[in-house]
């Protein structure tokens, strides 16, 4: 199974200029941020589904299906405990089940799922070099942009190593599922320590290898891959501006909210 999310396809989204891709991630986050109402979140959700179809990113969504489901479900349930507004529809101890809490909880769940989906789409269609380049073009210093993009590449490696460590400890008779929620978290210490030590060692090896390959020689390294700006980039950019503006308008007009709070 591949450990990285990037899916190599030749779609027009894959071919977009890195700056447009980084900007699109920003616009998706921006748009989702301004609205709370599930209905208002629907159009951008549909845009994401359309992009997922276009870019053939479904395998990544399938891999993360449980994470999406858990995000929506637990957030909806959690807000029914903490968001205590509106007329109660059903009496359940601890919970405050009202139209408002349901809509707000569902909205928050969809919001988180859409933030995750935007990230998945970005990583499914953007190479690490494009990420670095895109950030650089947005005036992020080279060292910082390279470190950010490299960290995305490292996370799957650490997950892979954590899986091996979990296996190793299970084979020594360790049961990760004993006790309550806090105890279960505590029981991951035999995994966290080896992962952490391995990460430190890997980071040290990488830093040495990077310097040995000339990293730091120049403050403004040249780029091997050229990213010409095409009409598709301009159209995508215009679409993203319109999308961002639309969502800001939804917020400004109150249409993106969950209605009057009583």
């Amino acid at each position: 199974m591949p450990i990285y999310l990037y899916i190599d396809r030749g779609t027009f989204v894959h071919r977009l200029h890195p700056t447009v891709k980084v900007f699109s991630l920003f616009v998706m986050f921006w748009s989702v941020y301004w609205v709370d109402n599930p209905v208002a979140l629907l159009p951008i959700g549909l845009v994401m589904l359309w992009i997922a179809q276009l870019t053939d990113s479904w395998p990544n969504f399938y891999r993360l299906r449980w994470l999406f489901a858990i995000l929506v479900f637990t957030t909806t349930i959690a807000w029914m405990v903490f968001y205590r507004r509106g007329a109660v529809l059903v009496n359940i101890p601890v919970f405050h089940v009202s139209r408002l809490s349901l809509v707000f909880g569902l909205g928050r769940g969809i919001k988180l799922a859409e933030l995750l989906a935007a990230s998945v789409l970005f990583l499914s269609t953007t190479k690490i070099e494009e990420f670095t380049y895109g950030l650089q073009r947005m005036r992020v210093p080279y060292r910082v942009s390279f470190a950010i993009s490299l960290s995305f590449r490292l996370v799957p490696l650490f997950i892979d190593s954590a899986v091996t460590i979990v296996d190793a400890q299970r084979l020594r008779g360790y049961d990760f599922n004993q006790g309550g929620p806090l105890e279960r978290v505590r029981r991951y210490v035999p995994v966290v320590i080896p992962v952490f030590m391995g990460a430190l060692r890997k980071a040290n090896n990488m830093a040495m290898a990077l310097e040995a390959r000339g990293f730091g020689f120049s403050h403004e390294p040249t780029t091997f891959i050229e990213y010409p700006v095409t009409p598709a980039d301009i159209m995508a950019f215009a679409f993203l501006i319109a999308l961002g503006a639309l969502y800001f308008m939804l917020y400004w007009t109150g249409l993106g909210g969950i209605g009057p709070v009583k």
């Binding site: 020594r172 008779g173 830093a207 990077l210 310097e211 780029t223």
Partner: protein
Amino acid sequence: MKTDAQIFSVNPGQHAVWVERITFTYHGADRPALRAVSFAQNAGELIGVMGASGAGKSTLAKCLNRIVPEFEDGDFHGAIRIAGEPLEHLRVCDVAPKVGMVFQDFESQLFSTNVAHEVAFAMEQVGMERAEMDRRIMPALEAVGLRGFEHRDPMSLSGGEKQRLAIASVLALRPSVIVLDEPTTDLDPEGRAEVFELIKKLRAQGLSLIVIEHESEELRAADRIMVLREGEIAADGAPAEVFARTELLTACGVRPPGLGHAFELLGIDAQPKSVDQAYEAIVRAYPGVAATPYDSIARSRVSEDPKAAGNAIIDPAFIGIENLSFSYPGGPRVLDSIELKVEAGEFLAIVGQNGSGKTTLAKHIVGLLQPATGRVTIDGKDRAQMRPAETAREVAYVFQNPDHQIFAATVEDEVAFGPRNFGLPADEIRRRCDEALEAVGLQNERQSDPFLLSKGERQRLAVASVLVLRPRMLILDEPTTGLDHREQLRMMALVRDLNRSGIAIVIITHTPWLVAEYARRVVLMRKGAKIFDGSVREFFMQDELLRSSSFRAPEITELSRRFGKLALTTDEFVALVKGRA
């Protein structure tokens, strides 16, 4: 050993590398990692650097591109010049265009998602124009045999290909010196062969190379061998001269080449460079031994003790694998209709190229993976009905990297972790810990911090931490990877003792001499299928099979076959020659 005066008898500007009395002590260390090391390398020379772990090999390599002392903190003295230019006051990145460095961990030195871009990475860093990068990429890929791979993701390459790509990426900067620090340690035999073939080619092109390596056979073609011991140069000379000093090599933790050691025991004063040369020299010295051609023994087969060879399996076997097939989700078949039985007390080696399914097979035995079809039984019980923790008391698995399990603050706590998970009483845990630590020779390290142990000690600690559960079988995945010869011998002596005490052993390995000297039965895997299962002697007779699997018999075994016999160890070969002579 040469004196400084001999080394520096010419102008430093004439040398590719000029190292003058370098001494380095890591921050917080109580003794120097390097002590007054001096040497000079002529342009186009290939120097092999050998020595035990901790002898200073990697530190020396890091000095050559300023990782020491720029990156690694410590006290540095001495001077280094590359092609006449002093390195002092330069940063690591400034040295990159002069000295290329290839590390052992190939995963940590690849940063791009595309092979061509990986080669361009270093050129981008030094601010090279795009047109120049374009001109350099293809020749670099051509040199390492990766032309046609330009658009591949480096992560999709095999280990050998990744390491060749790392070499291509340093070649593109056209450095005058390339340093390779144990470049083949994590590779399978095919990958090793690829990298050493490339090293030969680069040397023929006139590059100055410094290669750190544990296997002496691989460095026989070098111009010079430098052996380090406790931070000092213990020997420096032509391979024939250095490899003839077997006592010194052994004292330095270096495995002497099998052929040279055999010659010493046979009293032949020569250092053979190849099996062909060795054969001719022995025929001259012992004219009576040149007899039966190998073909005749291949046909007649060697008689074997079937129990020792693992052919006489009592049903039900301790481990039974029936018609086992497996694929990872969405992937091709990783295991294909495997049938295998392992008897209690056996010593089995599973060999095969990377990706052939060895580890996946082992993970099915211990229950980390569930078969798509077929089943695994342990002592007659269906493994699918057992939890991994239950299996652990029958079959223990030692992962390739001991650091994948170590987490405790002391060695004793690390070993006690398993029995505590099974809820054993405190005095029983103490008794078992004593027993396990004694078995692996770590009884005096009880209170030591596991993270401060050497790699060999950590590997033995990993064995102790599963041995403490008193399993009936131990599976060891590449137990000697990254260990020096002394640590390898110690590890394997431990494994042999455990086997003699009745524990069945399964080792997954790429090391031919280890199979020849320790295992009694071999299973060869290829593309998920078991393609050979038999005694070690039978295995090393299968010329075609070995060739097609990129698995080389040890040189001493190859040599013995020229005389119509099959010796697995140097001692066996010497006895054979002397007996027949």
